[in-house]
């Protein structure tokens, strides 16, 4: 049964990308375990505003685990201690009365801090812009059932497409690698006949962009897979490597 708990928060505060940050400690009493982690932060911010202080800046939007906007390193884990959830779906019942909770932004060279817990993840968009699409314009498309697709392939493509682009994979990786993110998109499109046509070009372009933006290499530690809120599998990385090698062999 959910009850109310008292907690201590250690929250990373940082004014801007170039400024020095530090942890601030806050006490919060009577937090309902039925509330989500972000609702708990709302309560903290309400308290700060009422004290005339600046609230903690953090990214969030849909609060149902699908937009990928929320982030946060909680007690050393991207999206906190629960599995297969985003921070907005993490509930306070996962914490005990009297707990001390450490909250940090994503720590990754690819994601500079904007303020407090808010980071810039535009690098992920740039990787998609480099090739994460099928090059078709609007209109003049054959009937949707013109090309049958084996259910198995469609399901695997959907597994990969479940990625929400939150950045937890790169944040969790000791090398700061974005391979899980890149491989999910490459896999989704390579598995479908519509995307297969450009598969080689896509794999090369996206990997090149990822390297250019300063993301590290994959050394198969699997921490990305363990922390991914959508449980995207590292078998996608294997598929990306195959696509990439095949593309390079064609050069």
């Amino acid at each position: 049964m959910d009850k109310n708990i008292n907690i201590t928060l250690k929250v990373w505060r940082q004014k801007g990308p170039k400024e020095k940050g530090a942890f601030e400690t806050y006490k919060l009493n009577n937090v309902s375990q039925g509330s989500s982690f972000l609702e708990m932060l709302d309560v903290l911010n309400e308290q700060l505003v009422n004290e005339g202080k600046e609230p903690v800046a953090f990214d969030h939007d849909c609060r149902e685990g699908i937009c990928g906007m929320c982030s946060l390193y909680i007690n050393g884990h991207p999206h906190g201690p629960d599995s297969a959830v985003t921070t907005c779906q993490l509930h306070m019942r996962k914490f005990d009365d009297g707990a001390t909770i450490t909250v940090e932004p994503w720590r990754s060279a690819g994601f500079p801090v904007i303020r407090d817990l808010m980071v810039d993840r535009y690098a992920y968009d740039k990787i998609i812009q480099a090739g994460g699409f099928v090059s078709v314009n609007t209109g003049g498309i054959p009937d949707a059932n013109a090309i049958p697709i084996p259910k198995k392939d469609a399901d695997l493509a959907m597994d990969a497409a479940a990625c929400i682009g939150c950045g937890a994979c790169a944040a969790a990786c000791k090398n700061g690698s974005a391979m899980l993110f890149v491989s999910a998109k490459v896999s989704q499109l390579a598995l479908l006949p519509q995307g297969k046509i450009e598969a080689a070009r896509r794999a090369k372009a996206m990997v090149a962009k990822m390297d250019e933006l300063g993301f590290g290499n994959c050394t198969n530690t699997r921490s990305c897979e363990a922390e991914c809120p959508k449980e995207v599998s590292i078998s996608n990385i294997a598929r990306l490597n195959r696509e990439y090698i095949a593309a390079k062999l064609q050069d």
Binding site: S32, G34, S35, S36, E39, D42, V43, E46, V49, N50, G52, E54, P55, A57, H60, D61, C62, R63, E64, I66, C67, G68, D82, A84, Q89, R93, I114, R115, R121, Y122, Y124, D125, I128, Q129, G131, G132, F133, V134, S135, V136, N137, T138, G139, I141, P142, A144, N145, I147, P148, P150, K151, A154, A157, M158, A161, A162, G165, Q188, L189, G195
Partner: protein
């Protein structure tokens, strides 16, 4: 009095859109390069429009408030998207999709618009498949469908419970391609705070850079607003935290009519409120009603024992359960439209049969489906929704029935647009949920995705050319023009004013109070007395906000409280307009239920002789009552009937 011109083309219903396209003006490729279009928003409508316009050769400036265009709230749509493909051979057709949508909207939408929507629906599915959207498929490799509320055919295409995500990522990938090619310029973490008009036409916007806090000016030949709906005025809704009505509201204040603000949708299947710190409500997809059965206890004492925690739902024998939707609406059962299902839940809870510790919940039960199909099939169909439910409520829906309750979900009302999707301000267009055009008084499930993409991929890219064809001689505007300066100064003054109030109350505390007023008086059931009271209360709340809000930090810096305050200021005024419109519309239709107007069985009583029109509200200035103009809804092709989902 101003006449409303909806510019509906002549001719038989099925030929109007073709006739329009055959005769509209076009812009040639060389001239497209000389024309700039601002698209505000990157949801299904905004992203699909920005991508399509750019592919055609226009220069596009695209804005989103989030850190990436992929975050727009369209992403949260779960269940599916409708199209009249008739792949299931179950009798579907363009006409039937049109008819279901008109009927579902309680005969308060434009026939010509809805027919066009049904007509282009099939192209949307083709387009999405070509982009690599992984729709659900049958073992034979062809696309699968399921059924949704308000229809007797299976016409809904879906990608597990993440259809909105997959469609948005499809549009986002098309948009990303154009950004990569340098043809769309993207401004992320930018919020439109005003429209700039020059000689009566929309020629640009002022946007606030949410990272630096600075105001920035942008000019273009036309402006497209695709900024979604305004139901966060209720504080608690299924919308994202950042979803807001402010961009549309600035358009209204610059002369665009606001149409049917009272039509908002309350979704029947949401997870009930848990407590005071609740920040939003989570939707459980309508697709669950395909297999889930909705019930409450038949006996009041059972309901009371459940509320007290003394009885579990699984202990209630079959004969003591009231499957009230199946009882009241045998023909559609659990798949009645959303407005009907929501009101029926409220009726049972008000009568004392509600469950959960608050009594504000009903059961959605999958026991029968699990018996019939096996747990594995149920898991395949709804696994991610069940997981989501369990994480939030800490209860296993495979074993205990889900608890659900209605919540605010979608705005059918919005900026008035003509057949070309242009507002009453020349050069200002509104698409997707931001406009009012296609859903009448109630939207059917899986039709929002359809409308957003129809507008963005297949309607606006045509109709905007009819406007821009006259603009090819117009050179680019300088943002140094006095019109830009004046607009920027107005918003700067507003920000300074807010920062200087230095009152005692947080933005959220006032927003919650707004939500209570809205839910109490302008929610699922409305009456004249309550609406008049709401108007008084909103006036007082507006005063409280403008004298007692407290915003820490600086106006010209990243300031999350200021962002919320600017939106809340508009939400309060949107609430006022909703109250006026609800009061004016002395009938019940779709999502708008006036208690004074119901049938003896408690169904919505429409009054076609008095209200067969679109309410178009025109702004008259601060502290002045808005004026209402009427666009008559002449039904040429469909005979209006009392909606019947019983037999």
């Amino acid at each position: 009095m101003t006449q409303i011109n909806s510019k509906i083309p002549e001719g038989p219903l099925a030929e109007k859109w073709k006739n329009y396209k055959d005769h509209q003006k076009l812009v040639n490729p060389a001239n497209k390069r000389r024309l700039d279009i601002i698209v505000v928003g990157t949801g299904l409508a905004g992203a699909s429009a920005a991508a399509s316009l750019s592919e055609m050769g226009f220069n596009v400036l695209n804005f989103c408030i989030q850190d990436s265009p992929r975050r727009a709230h369209s992403i949260a749509a779960q269940g599916g998207i409708n199209a009249a493909k008739n792949y299931q051979n179950d009798g579907d057709s363009v006409y039937r999709l049109f008819y279901d949508t008109i009927k579902g909207g309680d005969y308060r939408a434009r026939e010509a618009n809805v027919y066009r929507l049904a007509e282009v629906s099939n192209s949307i599915i083709d387009q999405c498949v070509a982009q690599g959207v992984p729709f659900a498929r049958e073992y034979g490799g062809l696309l699968d469908n399921r059924s949704f509320g308000g229809a007797q055919v299976s016409r809904t295409f879906y990608a597990r419970g993440q259809t909105g995500q997959q469609l948005l990522l499809g549009a986002y990938s098309a948009l990303s391609r154009q950004i990569g090619l340098g043809k769309v310029k993207l401004y992320k973490r930018h919020e439109m705070v005003d429209i700039v008009k020059i000689d009566g036409r929309a020629r640009g916007i002022i946007a606030r850079n949410l990272v630096t806090g600075k105001l920035e000016r942008f000019a273009a030949h036309a402006v497209v607003v695709a900024t979604g709906g305004y139901v966060n005025a209720f504080f608690l809704s299924t919308n994202a935290m950042g979803s807001n009505g402010s961009a549309a509201w600035q358009c209204y204040k610059k002369g665009a009519y606001f149409a049917n603000p009272c039509y908002v949708q309350i979704h029947p299947t949401c997870i009930p409120v848990h407590g005071e710190s609740q920040s939003k409500l989570t939707l459980m997809s309508e697709s669950l009603r395909n297999d889930g059965r909705i019930w409450v206890p038949k006996k009041k004492e059972d309901a009371e024992a459940i509320r007290a925690g003394q009885l579990k739902p699984t202990q209630i024998p079959e004969e003591d359960r009231d499957y009230y939707l199946e009882r009241r609406y045998p023909a559609f059962g659990n798949l009645v439209p959303r407005d009907v299902a929501s009101r029926a839940a409220k009726e049972r809870c008000d009568a004392g049969f509600g469950v959960g510790n608050t009594g504000l919940a009903v059961y959605l039960d999958f026991a029968d489906a699990i018996n019939r199909l096996g747990k594995k099939v149920v898991e395949q169909r709804y696994g991610n929704l069940f997981q989501m439910y369990e994480k939030i409520v800490d209860d296993n829906p495979y074993e205990t029935p889900m608890m659900i309750f209605p919540a605010l979900h979608y705005a059918m009302g919005g900026l008035w647009v003509d057949y070309e999707l242009m507002t009453s301000v020349p050069g200002l267009f509104a698409i997707g949920e931001a406009n009012f055009s296609d859903h009448g008084a109630n939207r059917l499930g899986a039709s929002a995705l359809m409308q957003g993409l129809a507008d963005g991929y297949f309607v606006l890219p045509y109709t905007i050319q009819n406007y821009l064809a006259d603009q090819i001689q117009v050179p680019r505007f300088s943002t140094n023009l006095p019109e830009f300066g004046e607009a920027e100064k107005n918003i700067q003054d507003r920000i300074n004013h807010l920062m200087n109030i230095r009152g005692k109350r947080s933005v959220d505390s006032i927003h919650k109070e707004l939500g209570h007023i809205m839910w109490e008086h302008i929610g699922m059931a409305r009456n004249a007395e309550g609406l008049k009271k709401a108007i008084e209360q909103l006036k007082a709340l507006k005063q409280e906000f403008w004298t007692n809000v407290r915003i820490p930090g600086q106006g010209d810096d990243l300031n999350i409280e200021l962002e919320k305050a600017l939106r809340l200021a508009d939400f309060i005024e949107i609430g006022e307009l909703m109250a006026h419109d609800s009061l004016d519309r002395a009938e019940s239709c779709g999502g708008h239920f006036r208690e004074e107007y119901q049938t003896p069985e408690g169904e919505a009583l429409r009054r076609d002789d008095h209200f067969p029109y679109v309410s178009c509200w025109e702004y008259q200035g601060d502290n002045q009552d808005p004026v209402m103009l009427k666009e008559p809804l002449d039904y040429e092709f469909v005979v209006r009937q009392q909606r019947n989902y019983k037999n």
